[in-house]
């Protein structure tokens, strides 16, 4: 009798357990991909910085780097929205990845903001979205230690705030965000 009860119990539990396990595997896979894509974003950003220091004839390549980085950020945001639907908006890890990627794209857009005004608007939009994603967390995204190293030339950055300060772009971005809010 007891055996039958256990068997029936197992038959009821196994399908749910299998679904939960599958969902958990998918989440792990998504998280892994987000991290991989973020690494590619940083790699792409680092590469572009080297290039900015060295070369003059760079417009076509600058735009190409910008577009490439954008592809990766779009993919991250795509996975992030899927994750949000799957698990709600409480996942700080995923929000962190998405927010950082957006800030890197924002910085990339700023490189050509003087030549192309639309780029500045895009940069502001990304920056604003990144701040929104990380709203209400204990440490602001800008001051949080980065999970990887960002090398620009011979200088190492471990926080996004330092990167923004050093590039002297934070002021512009913050101002524009304030303008938008007003």
């Amino acid at each position: 009798m007891r055996g039958k009860v256990i068997l029936v119990g197992l038959l009821l539990v196994v399908p749910f357990a299998r679904d939960i396990l599958a969902q958990s595997l998918i989440k792990t896979k998504f998280e892994q991909q987000m991290v991989d894509y973020e690494n590619d974003v940083v790699r792409c950003y680092n590469e572009m910085q080297k290039f900015l220091e060295q070369e003059d004839r760079n417009l076509a390549e600058m735009i190409a780097f910008e577009n490439l980085l954008s592809i990766y950020v779009d993919r991250i945001l795509e996975i992030y929205s899927t994750m949000e639907r799957l698990a709600g908006s409480s996942l700080e890890t995923y929000r962190g990845v998405a927010a950082r990627a957006l800030i890197f794209r924002s910085l990339t857009y700023l490189e050509r903001s003087k030549q192309e005004k639309q780029n500045f608007e895009k940069a502001v939009a990304d920056y604003k979205y990144a701040l929104q994603l990380y709203k209400g967390t204990s440490i602001p995204i800008m001051n949080k230690k980065l999970p990887y190293e960002v090398w620009i030339g011979r200088k190492l950055y471990t926080r996004l705030a330092d990167l923004l300060d050093d590039k002297n772009k934070a002021f512009n971005l913050l101002n524009s965000v304030q303008d938008i809010n007003q």
Partner: protein, 480 residues
């Protein structure tokens, strides 16, 4: 007349119907699929245009609202236009194909389509020699990432093939157009590294592993200078072909590639290497080439070798020892062969001029030795032969000081190379060495005789006698 007019209308109407005018979108779409499978690409394009026209009308058919239908209409149209382009090589067709596929991608976002129109955009950039157009690479990469995600982040065989195509196009764009630098090659180099990294995420066959490793290396060498690296690789490949078939055409191609590699070299080491390689091919052409212009090739070799040597002097710490030795060897060789050339072309009319010319060429490698004579700037494999040749030049010019100085240096050099002290000549000596030394001693004797250097002759006589005996035994029995 009326009958003729009526039949004309009927014929026109039949052709109108047969081409699909007046049919609904569903029927036309079914026809498109059938015609595409039958490889009737012109008909496919025509039918797709009709569907698009019908869908632009005020009251379009229901199918026009179905994304699945319309993305396929543009897809069939784009691929058919591309097939027509491959047959006719008409750039307008390629442009149409790209636009159709972009439209299809906008409707659905199929990564395969993104890869395909990216490929076509890169193809257009290559054909139009516009290396600045990098959109194709970006769009193809978007497609590759999409396919990778669609296949649950695994690299399928199909994706691997696409990565290979992508890499080859990236390389081609980085060297488009061949004679100018529209981009730095940094972006293409980065893309190739990304592509190779993605390919490495699966287990690769031996050939594939070699393919991706080679391209990865080419991308990172010489400060990520893909443009320069690619010309270098093509240059070396062309050099092999040239050596197997030393004709003017193969020589020109090889030299052209190597010159481009030199032009786009970023590091001093690469510049020196390319100059050395250019010297080598010019020397080879002079020696083995069919109908080569000897003097031109030798002068070219001398010029390139001299430039390589200047780089070596200015950036010695950047140049590895092996390359340094090779540069010295080719420079020495170029000078030796040019001296030999002017020495051997003398005619009775301008004998002295040719000898003087040969001497001036040789002096390029000579510096004061601090004892009133001259010595070569550096030692290279075969430097004793240059001394010997210059002593011949001095002999012919009647310049006693120069001739004696050179032959004395040649004699000391040949002893030094063979690691022989003078007294050892009278002891056991390898036969080949004896033969080589004898040649030098005889020239020394000739010069001493011409300028009446009795003490030298007195000193040389026993040496020549011994060396003759030792080399004579060589030819007779091989013992010594």
């Amino acid at each position: 007349m009326k009958k003729f007019g009526l039949s004309l209308v009927i014929v026109y109407w039949i052709s109108f119907v047969s081409l699909g005018f007046g049919q609904d979108v569903r029927t036309l779409y079914d026809k498109v699929r059938k015609e595409y499978e039958a490889n009737n690409f012109a008909t496919v394009v025509n039918l797709c245009k009709q569907i698009i026209e019908r869908c632009e009308q005020n009251y379009p058919d229901a199918e026009c609202r179905y994304t699945d239908v319309m993305k396929n209409v543009y897809r069939y149209k784009g691929f058919s236009e591309f097939r027509i382009y491959t047959q006719e090589q008409n750039m307008d067709q390629l442009e149409e194909a790209i636009n159709s596929l972009i439209k299809s991608y906008e409707l659905y976002g199929d990564p395969e389509i993104s890869f395909n129109y990216g490929y076509m955009q890169s193809l257009r950039a290559i054909k139009l020699k516009n290396g600045r157009d990098l959109d194709g690479l970006v769009n193809a990469w978007r497609g590759i990432l999409g396919i990778y995600a669609r296949d649950e982040w695994t690299v399928s065989n199909d994706l691997l093939n696409k990565l290979k195509i992508f890499i080859q196009q990236a390389v081609e764009i980085s060297i488009t157009p061949p004679d100018s630098a529209l981009t730095t090659g940094r972006f293409t180099s980065f893309m190739i590294r990304l592509a190779c990294d993605l390919a490495q995420k699966r287990t690769l066959s031996r050939d594939d592993s070699v393919f991706f490793n080679v391209y990865y290396r080419r991308a990172i060498d010489d400060e990520f200078n893909l443009r320069g690296n690619e010309w270098r690789a093509r240059g070396f490949e062309a050099e092999q072909i040239f050596k197997a078939n030393p004709y003017d055409s193969t020589y020109r191609i090889c030299r052209g590639y190597l010159e481009l590699a030199l032009r786009f070299a970023k590091s001093t080491q690469r510049k020196a290497e390319m100059l050395k390689e250019l010297t080598k091919v010019a020397l080879y052409m002079e020696k083995e080439g069919r109908n080569s212009r000897r003097e031109t090739e030798l002068q070219y070799a001398r010029e390139k070798a001299s430039q390589a040597y200047t780089i070596l002097q200015e950036h010695r710490s950047d140049i590895p020892r092996e390359l340094e030795n090779e540069i010295k060897k080719v420079y020495g060789n170029a000078i030796f062969r040019l001296v030999d050339y002017y020495f051997s072309i003398t005619t009775s009319k301008d004998r002295m001029n040719s000898f003087l010319h040969a001497r001036r060429i040789g002096e390029e490698l000579l510096v004061p030795d601090g004892q009133g004579g001259l010595k070569q700037k550096f030692q290279w494999e075969g430097y004793e032969d240059l001394y010997l040749k210059l002593s011949d030049v001095g002999y012919e010019l009647g310049d006693e000081k120069f001739a004696v100085d050179m032959v004395d240096k040649a004699w000391k050099a040949v002893l030094d190379i063979n690691h022989i002290q003078l007294p050892q000549i009278y002891g056991p000596l390898p036969p080949q060495t004896a033969k080589e030394l004898l040649q030098f001693a005889q020239v020394y004797q000739q010069i001493a005789e011409r300028f009446g250097l009795q003490s030298v002759l007195h000193w040389l006589r026993p040496i020549i006698k011994t060396l003759s005996q030792k080399s004579f035994y060589t030819t007779k029995g091989g013992g010594y």
